[in-house]
């Protein structure tokens, strides 16, 4: 029995994945239209990972995220409106327009923030897991990171301490195949999930586009961590349908992947795959998926529209973050 295996739970997972997808599609359009002041890194194709993992967490559990962090933010309960406002750089944003796409955070939801430094969240999550361990209330720290971050030394450092101290830490590697603009096969040696083995840390490689596999692996890892069993490394194999960053074709002179490869992964789309499965099982009526797509798409567009013209932050608001200002 996996968590969220009830029909209602399944529908929630589907809804969350669709919320992320629709938000990212909206942002892709906004970027094309020149409405975003800065870069955005979209999560399209990877939605099952954030959704399946965060469904096992509550607001008192901590997550750290990546530059590709909108999906984690939304899956962990972040408000879409506040996220759009942030990415539009508005004062009503979740971070008041100070952080933007790469730094969306909502501490009240346990979201310590997306992070513009590849691997930057690893040690932070380990520290949050230490805090959770000291609190002694069964909370956990979860670090989402990419295959690119598997090349950062701090991952080995974190595995070492997590094993020594049995930290309630779940390291979730979203292996989307690329380290920024390089296929990871050219820059990452070995199997990422096996990096945990010499430390005696449990690890598993799963199909990251299979939300039930993600939920099951994450559920087991979270339960182990909550019960003093320590750290788990989950490697979720997935694929980044969009580029590293929107608009990258404007500055890249060469291709780093083939269209056929992208198309082959579109066929493994985690959302339509799960929708079909639920229909086959009779958990949702036939046609429900497209109905949901439409209603969630509308909800997302309404959320984005509602804040698109909110005021930019006043430049005087910079003062409040100087050292010494309270």
């Amino acid at each position: 029995m996996i968590p969220n295996s009830t029909a209602a739970g399944s529908l929630d997972l589907l809804r969350t994945m669709l919320t992320i997808r629709k938000a990212e599609e909206r942002l892709a359009g906004d970027f094309k239209a020149g409405l975003l002041p800065g870069p955005v890194h979209l999560y399209i194709g990877q939605e099952a990972v954030a959704t399946g993992v965060c469904a096992q967490l509550d607001d008192c559990d901590w997550i750290t995220s990546t530059h590709r962090g909108h999906g984690h933010f939304l899956a962990k309960g972040g408000d879409p409106k506040a996220m759009f406002a942030e990415i539009y750089g508005r004062s009503t944003g979740i971070c008041g327009g100070f952080g933007g796409s790469m730094h969306v955070a909502d501490v009240s939801k346990g979201i310590l923030g997306a992070n513009g430094i590849v691997g930057g969240g690893v040690a932070l999550a380990a520290g949050a897991a230490l805090a959770a361990q000291l609190d002694g209330e069964g909370h956990v720290g979860v670090c989402f990171f990419g295959d690119g971050a598997a090349a950062q030394g701090v991952l080995g450092e974190a595995l070492n301490i997590a094993a020594l101290w049995k930290l309630p830490l779940i390291l979730v590697c979203e292996n989307n195949g690329f380290s920024e603009f390089s296929p990871s096969s050219s820059v990452i040696a070995g199997d990422i999930f096996r990096r945990a083995e010499p430390y005696g840390i449990q690890s598993v490689r799963i199909d990251g586009n299979d939300i039930e596999a993600v939920a099951e692996a994450a559920g087991a890892a979270v339960e182990r961590a909550r019960n003093g069993g320590g750290c788990t490394l989950i490697e979720a194999l997935t694929y980044r349908i969009h580029g590293h960053v929107e608009g990258e074709n404007a500055f890249l002179k060469t291709r780093y992947r083939e269209d056929e490869e992208v198309d082959s992964w579109r066929l493994k789309d985690p959302i339509s795959r799960y929708g079909r499965l639920l229909e086959e099982r009779g958990d949702i009526a036939v046609g429900k998926l497209s109905e949901l797509e439409e209603s969630i798409g509308k909800m997302i567009n309404d959320a984005a529209d509602a804040v698109a013209d909110d005021p930019y932050p006043d430049s005087a608001s910079l003062d409040r973050h100087e050292l010494g200002a309270s």
């Binding site: 971070c95 040690a123 932070l124 520290g127 230490l130 959770a132 450092e157 973050h321 050292l323």
Partner: protein, 326 residues
């Protein structure tokens, strides 16, 4: 007043703050063994939950300090030698110094990074830097530079109670020096310079271990009837500008003594400040006395030749006095 070594003053501050607030924790390299003596006895007194020996993993340690402080603890992170801050720098520069603004104040980080810096012990090129200004350059981290027992205790206690990151840089070569510490609760606010010798002819701004060097120079100069005022900023960032400017307005002459290298010395900041705000008070060019732009050399005569000493400070003061007022 009680006379204590500087290193014991630091130990007292840690004990008092850990007694005062059970959410203060200490992590770091060899905090149990305590090669400097500043953390001696804490492990036995407060136990292995709150006092944790870390592996030699600075990137992880500094990042965990950030993560645990974001998750509700007051973290003291002992990096041992100050040069190791370069290895720890991502979490300090990209995370600790940035999260407050990027999250619009959702995350405040009560974290102290402490380390011993400076030369004088033939610790050679990778254990002798005094890197206060690289941290000052970040803009989001207080830099405390105690020069004596009383300030070491008072500044560290304040640092631990501060809701923003502090780099506490103790002088490696001065740990054994005795100094008077006021009895009872002794607090030194950040951003408060100290005039430790009053004079009329020349102001010397000196930092950390250089305060003693400046004092010896001032005593020698006093025998020749030259009256020197010594200002110890005590916090390299942010600077207590008013005290420095007030002194220069009185004396009209300024020598700045810092054992950081010339290329990254506080002399540059202080000279710029005085040029901007007290230019018309100056009767002579400002003279910096700093360390040459080289790695600190090992052999005692070489090291001695690099780091400012009282003779160089005396020469600098005499140089400012040879200049004729316009």
């Amino acid at each position: 007043m009680t006379r204590k070594r500087l290193i014991h003053a630091i130990n007292d501050a840690l004990v008092e703050e850990m007694e005062r607030d059970e959410r203060v924790i200490l992590i770091g390299e060899d905090v149990g063994a305590s090669i400097f003596g500043d953390t001696r006895g804490l492990l036995a007194r407060f136990g292995p939950d709150r006092v944790r020996d870390m592996p030699i993993s600075e990137a992880l340690m500094s990042g965990m300090a950030v993560g645990a402080s974001a998750a509700g603890y007051r973290v003291v992170c002992h990096l041992m030698y100050a040069n190791f801050i370069y290895t720890a720098f991502d979490a300090i520069a990209n995370q600790a110094a940035r999260l407050r603004l990027m999250t619009n104040g959702q995350i405040r980080l009560p974290v102290v990074f402490m380390a011993a810096g400076g030369g004088g012990r033939s610790n050679a090129g990778q254990h002798s830097d005094y890197p206060h200004m690289p941290v000052a350059s970040l803009g989001g981290v207080y830099v405390a530079t105690p020069s004596c027992s009383a300030d070491a205790k008072g500044l560290l206690k304040t640092a631990i109670r501060t809701d923003d990151p502090v780099f506490f840089l103790q002088p490696t070569s001065r740990g054994g020096e005795m100094g008077d510490i006021p009895d009872g609760e002794h607090i030194v606010p950040l951003v408060s310079a100290k005039v430790l010798r009053s004079g009329d002819d020349v102001t010397i701004v000196a930092v950390g271990a250089m305060v003693r060097v400046a004092s010896r120079a001032a005593e020698a100069l006093a025998e020749d009837g030259i009256s020197v005022e010594i200002v110890d900023p005590r916090t390299s960032y942010p600077l207590d500008q008013d005290t420095i400017i007030g002194s220069v307005r009185k004396t009209g002459r300024l020598v700045i003594v810092d054992e950081a290298r010339s290329a990254g010395s506080i002399a540059n900041q202080v000279a710029a400040l005085v040029a901007e705000k007290a230019f018309s008070s100056l009767k002579a060019p400002i003279v910096p006395v700093t360390t040459r732009d080289l790695a600190i050399a090992y052999a005692p005569p070489l090291e001695k030749a690099m780091i400012p000493d009282a003779d160089r400070v005396v020469d600098a003061v005499r140089m400012t006095l040879r200049e004729i007022a316009p």
